[in-house]
Subunit: 243 residues, 2 copies
């Protein structure tokens, strides 16, 4: 892990760009870093540059509560090399959505399964690197999309103690079985009228999670319309489970 940039934001939060091999990432640490800050890994749909304003706002919201927050670029997104099969699957998905057709399981599998297989080990490597920093400590939470990535991480990564999962993307049907193996506390966010998502599949996934403590928050508005108060609810969820 190599830091590539550093700036102090106006609220005192320290923002550092880094690379982990070929993977770019960003780490935000609280202004008053007393002891080791618990860490929130921030999931997203890919494209750090485009998403920067929203990611930075989320990170500062976390930092205000004493958390460090970090994110890495997804495989095939931003400045990272494109995957031809993923691009093709994405185009097929877009065509189906624009035509108002049901989305074939096969398209979802082709788009999401290789992404999960590639992204999850990268998140785990990032976690190794981040937790080796003296200013970052456990416990660790995951917050955001892609929900299939968050689900797999929750199963395979024992250092993640709780997760806020954004059900805003398609999930391979085979991952329902994986969801049953998740046991950490979950807060699942669902945009009820998300134009690019399958509401019933999101409800089936919520039902499948094996966690004893899981909460679903569904709100109106499209994919990007998650109400601001859900940020506060997320912080309170982590306050219950990470502190």
């Amino acid at each position: 892990m190599r830091f590539t940039s550093e700036q102090r934001l106006d609220d005192g939060v320290l923002e550092r760009g880094f690379t982990l091999g070929e993977i770019p990432g960003i780490l935000w640490t609280p202004a008053a870093a007393s002891a080791q800050a618990p860490l929130i890994l921030m999931g997203h749909p890919g494209g750090l540059h485009k998403l920067y304003p929203r990611l930075a706002a989320r990170a500062r919201h976390c930092a205000a509560e004493g958390y460090a927050a970090a994110t890495i670029e997804l495989p095939g997104s931003g400045d990272r090399p494109r995957s031809a099969t993923a691009e093709e699957a994405r185009a097929d998905l877009r065509r189906a959505l624009e035509a108002g057709e049901p989305v074939d399981d096969e398209i979802v599998d082709r788009l999401i399964l290789p992404l999960v297989d590639k992204a999850v080990p990268e998140w785990r490597a990032a976690l190794d690197a981040l937790l080796s920093l003296p200013e970052v400590g456990g416990p660790v939470g995951y917050a955001g999309g892609v929900i299939a990535i968050g689900t797999r991480l929750a199963v395979v990564e024992p250092r993640i103690s709780a997760a806020v999962l954004f059900a805003g993307s398609f999930v391979p049907r085979t991952m329902l079985e994986e969801a049953r193996q998740v046991t950490i506390p979950l807060l699942v966010l669902l945009q009820w009228d998300d134009e690019g998502n399958d509401r019933q599949m999101a409800l089936d996934l919520f039902d499948a999670f094996g966690s004893k403590e899981k909460t679903l928050h569904a709100n109106m508005g499209g994919h990007t319309g998650v109400p601001q108060f859900e940020g506060d609810d997320g912080n309170r969820f982590f306050a219950r489970h990470l502190k």
Copy 2:
């Protein structure tokens, strides 16, 4: 409205029993009643004596945030005269649930529709009486079950500005149309594995509500297992909409 008892609870909240004609009720007002306190009407499944500990706890939670809270007995519950048709419908419902059979729409209609028809005008009369007290003012929220009663109240009672509805009881299918007429902000609570409720119907009802701002919170556990943090979430919801 006639006060029949009065006691000051250990946190300073003033609890007064009252009757409104033949209907018993309870009013809780905050310790430091400065100006007029906004009012939360607390819905419940019927049986004030039995429910008193839970109702008092909810009321004190409201009062701590500056709200007055009030409730009245439901028709056919507690010390009020039983309705033979309602008792019969309740027995039919219990039989169906115990046998693990699907619950006939006809049983739900027989149980719930007359209850809604009778209870809603009573809640409105109670609201008239409560708002005439100098220490109670608007705006007004409704919080609790029976969700069919809360739904009808939200449609017909313009003084109710926001509602936390507990989706913990069966809803007549015909009320989906009524739900479309609801426009006030809603927080709907659903216990995902509620043994005596129809999850899909609760989701259909949430979908039907006409409100632009509506949020669903679904949690694990049975009917009585609503997590304590939902009380805080409810207070924050009312703080956004009643203040």
